[in-house]
């Protein structure tokens, strides 16, 4: 009884370290114009619903959904905010199409991270205010502690994490939309100060600005358009627990559960074999490895080897983050998931240029909401 649902258009602007020439509204409008042109639809006539993805403290505005409808063509239409990740927004659109109530739903997410004067303070504001926030003077300490335990249990050498950074920044050099591309070598990375020991600044994805719009449609609609549809074959999402003290510090359980759900829906039994390439969260270098294991691209403990052997490069056996990921493109906060979706759609349509992976028929895209959360989402896409 599941309806087939396709992504029929994507549009974006970015990603930039800063973007002073456009307001967030103007950025959203540009991304939306590109998406509607891509899909060949008129939002005022054709779109049934809209989802925007945002968090108040990222914007500096309370109940940010107020400032969304006009510039994405959603004025006087059903719109709502998902305070989550871009992929959760995409899933909300997917669900609405599944009900049969709607046929075309538009998802928008953006980042104006450069407008926050103290982004780390904002991250700290997400910590439990009575047990954790008064103790921790830097929010990155959570990632640092998690990294320590993860590499301890999996016996991952720091070289493997450096390799993740090298690979993603190199992929980003082939991606014209990346904010932090670079050609770097392992010595440079390993020599850096561990400012949040064991994290060095190389391990942390820097913030970037950008806006992304993805248009989702039912099969009937998708088949009648000129565009080549990319099918949403499975979706999953999960929150483990907000409590730092009771969560799993080694395995990304949220991603495991989300992937199980998405694979079940997509009929995927052996992801390591059936998935052609993956976009997984790499807000921190170790997260890429942890997430690869969680979504079953390899067995637990193997991710480090895969990376060291170059298997996750664009030409490798299982390319991971051909876009350049957050380390190369930039950390787009709530929009990160949609950036990955846009990349995967581009790859599946074989429009990815120099970073095109050879076999691109089935992709998995995974997102994480960042510290201090344990929320993640997974989407399986295919042609």
């Amino acid at each position: 009884m599941i309806r087939k649902v396709a992504i029929i258009g994507t549009g974006y602007i970015g990603c930039f370290p800063t973007s002073p020439h456009l307001s967030y509204k103007e950025m959203m409008f540009e991304a939306a114009c590109r998406a509607y042109t891509d899909a060949g639809i008129d939002p005022r006539k054709d779109a049934d619903g809209f989802v925007c993805v945002s968090e108040d403290f990222h914007e500096g505005t309370s109940i940010f959904d107020e400032y969304v409808p006009d510039q994405i063509g959603a004025y006087m239409k059903p719109v709502h905010t998902i305070a989550g990740d871009g992929i959760q927004g995409l899933i909300a659109a997917f669900l609405k199409i599944q009900t049969g109530l709607m046929n075309i739903v538009v998802v928008e997410a953006h980042s104006k991270a450069s407008n926050m004067m103290f982004p780390e303070h904002i991250t700290s504001l997400a910590l439990d205010p009575i047990f954790n926030r008064p103790v921790l003077r830097n929010a990155y300490s959570i990632a640092a502690m998690e990294m320590r335990r993860y590499i301890y249990e999996r016996k991952i050498p720091l070289e493997a994490l450096a390799k993740v950074v090298i690979k993603n920044k190199l992929n980003a050099l082939k991606n014209p939309s990346s904010a932090y591309p670079a050609y770097v070598d392992a010595d440079e990375i390993l020599a850096a100060e561990r400012c949040f020991d064991p994290l060095s600044s190389w391990d942390i994805a820097s913030y970037a600005d950008g806006a992304f719009v993805v248009i989702v449609a039912s099969e009937e609609v998708a088949r009648n358009l000129k565009v080549k549809p990319v099918w949403i074959k499975g979706v999953g999402w999960c929150t483990e627990t907000p409590s730092l003290e009771t969560r799993d510090w080694v395995n990304a359980t949220y991603a495991e559960r989300a992937a199980e759900m998405a694979y079940r829906m997509a009929g995927i039994k052996n992801p390591a074999k059936e998935i052609d390439f993956a976009e997984v969260d790499d807000s921190f270098s170790y997260k890429e490895l942890q997430h690869m294991e969680a979504i079953g691209l390899c067995r637990k403990g193997e991710a480090g080897y895969l990376v060291m052997e170059g298997e996750t490069g664009i030409d490798g056996r299982i390319p991971v983050n051909p876009s350049g990921g957050s380390l190369g493109v930039g950390n787009l906060m709530d929009a990160t998931g949609l950036m990955r979706i846009v990349e995967a759609v581009g790859q599946l349509r074989r429009e990815a240029g120099r970073r095109q992976v050879e076999k691109a028929e089935t992709a998995v895209v995974q997102s994480w909401r960042g510290i201090p959360t344990t929320t993640g989402a997974v989407v399986v896409l295919g042609i």
Binding site: M1, I2, E55, D56, F57, G60, T61, S62, I63, D65, E66, Y67, V68, P69, D70, A74, Y75, M76, K77, P78, V79, H80, T81, I82, A83, G84, Q88, I91, A92, F94, L95, K96, Q98, T99, G100, L101, I122, T123, L125, A126, D128, P129, I130, G236, W237, C238, T239, E240, T241, P242, S243, T253, Y254, R257, A258, M265, R369, P372, T373, T375
Partner: protein, 385 residues
């Protein structure tokens, strides 16, 4: 389309300053909702959270923070908001989770802890205005209500006395609500004599700032029938967001509420809402809003709602009981939780479980509605026994 029912409901008391954390309030409401239909968290497939600005509770990404209190441990969990419309929208979000066919049950939780915000929750409200061209004027939330109320009164020539009747009715209704913060007997005189905050808005026109949570359990048709013999069906849902540029609109009439209502009525097969809707819980953070929303919900002509109130049509023993719960004016206004409280009330009324608040006439179809943002969003659900 897959039919979805509400099978259980729960809420906390609405209070000015709660000792409980937001997580604990969420747990209390969610636990009561589960107990009310004798389910445990193992029976729940997914969780939906509705909670409005993070600046109330004082936690960034507060949806994430509240997750364990809402029972989301290792489950699919998603938070949405549409400002003040969130409480009713959360039910719509839960509806599409179950109606999609992906899940059979969904726990919907709404929470707001406004007392955390200092020196006054108005600090959070200040930041709902445009960051560059409105906030520098030092606006407060009362302004938008006062501006809208004045426009409504002027266009339809409604005297303040008629509007005050809503506050009198709702605060009286709230006396029978075990969770109410401000259930009391007041008179129109009291309202008119109360402190002027932002004319035409006076102290007793306004709902109180509160802490609280509410929750409902949703189930697919098969499951619902196994859980209870009194499921309440979500037969229509609608929502609509008007332009951000609120100073470009005529505030006299909430056309976005009308659009949301039409969407919900169409889905529910309602062609004559005045005849087919038996009971309503429109959003009443201020007394005139109840009237405004009755008109937007097409329950009466534009500018006519005050007359219905004056005639007693909207009282508990009237033909169209409106806000029998006591509404936000009487029960309290922890924003998202208050919206969901309205859905809970219709649920209890349709099941004839509202106790002292049970309306006189037999009711089979009810509507709950919330409103929010910059006088911009309408969220509507139609419920049926």
């Amino acid at each position: 389309m897959r039919r979805v029912a509400i099978v259980g409901a729960g809420m906390t008391k609405f209070i000015r300053r709660a000792q409980e954390t937001g997580k604990e309030l969420s747990f209390e409401a969610a636990n009561m909702a589960l107990n009310s239909c004798e389910l445990t968290i193992k029976d729940i497939d997914c969780i939906v959270m509705g909670t409005a600005p993070d600046a109330f509770d004082g936690v960034h990404m507060k949806g994430e923070y509240l997750a364990d209190g809402a029972g989301a441990w290792r489950k699919p969990y998603m938070r949405s908001f549409v400002g003040g419309g969130t409480g009713v929208f959360a039910v719509i979000q839960g509806w599409y989770h179950v109606a999609s066919g992906l899940f059979d049950t969904c726990l919907v939780v709404c929470e707001e802890k406004m007392s955390s915000c200092q020196p006054h929750p108005q600090g959070a409200f200040l930041t709902i205005f445009d960051n560059i061209i409105e906030r520098p004027l030092g606006p407060n939330l009362l302004w938008i209500f006062a501006l809208e109320m004045n426009r409504y009164m002027s266009v339809y020539k409604i005297p303040k006395e008629e509007i005050a009747l809503v506050a009198v009715k709702n605060k009286r209704n709230a006396k029978d609500h075990p969770c109410a913060l401000l259930g009391e007997d007041i008179t129109v005189e009291d309202v008119l004599k109360s402190e002027v905050l932002a004319w035409p808005v006076q102290r007793l026109d306004v709902s109180p700032i509160s802490d609280g949570a509410a929750a409902v359990v949703l189930a697919s048709e098969d499951r619902a029938r196994r859980i209870t013999d009194k499921p309440v069906w979500i037969d229509g849902v609608g929502w609509c967001l008007d332009t951000t540029y609120w100073t470009n609109r005529d505030l006299a009439y909430p056309r976005y509420v009308e659009a949301a209502a039409i969407m919900a009525y169409k889905m529910a097969g309602i062609t004559d809402p005045r005849r087919e809707i038996h009971i309503a819980e429109p959003y009443d953070p201020f007394d005139y809003k109840e009237l405004h929303h009755m008109e937007g919900l097409l329950l009466c002509d534009k500018g006519e709602a005050p007359k219905l109130t004056a005639k007693g049509v909207t009282s508990r023993d009237g033909e169209l009981p409106v806000c029998p719960s006591g509404g936000l004016l009487g029960v309290g206004n922890p924003i998202a939780a208050a919206g969901l409280m309205k859905v809970c009330e219709i649920f209890w009324q349709l099941r004839e479980e509202a106790g002292a608040r049970q309306v006189t006439r037999k009711v089979r179809t009810g509507v709950a509605q919330a409103w929010g943002d910059l006088m911009q969003v309408g969220t509507v659900v139609v419920l049926r026994r």
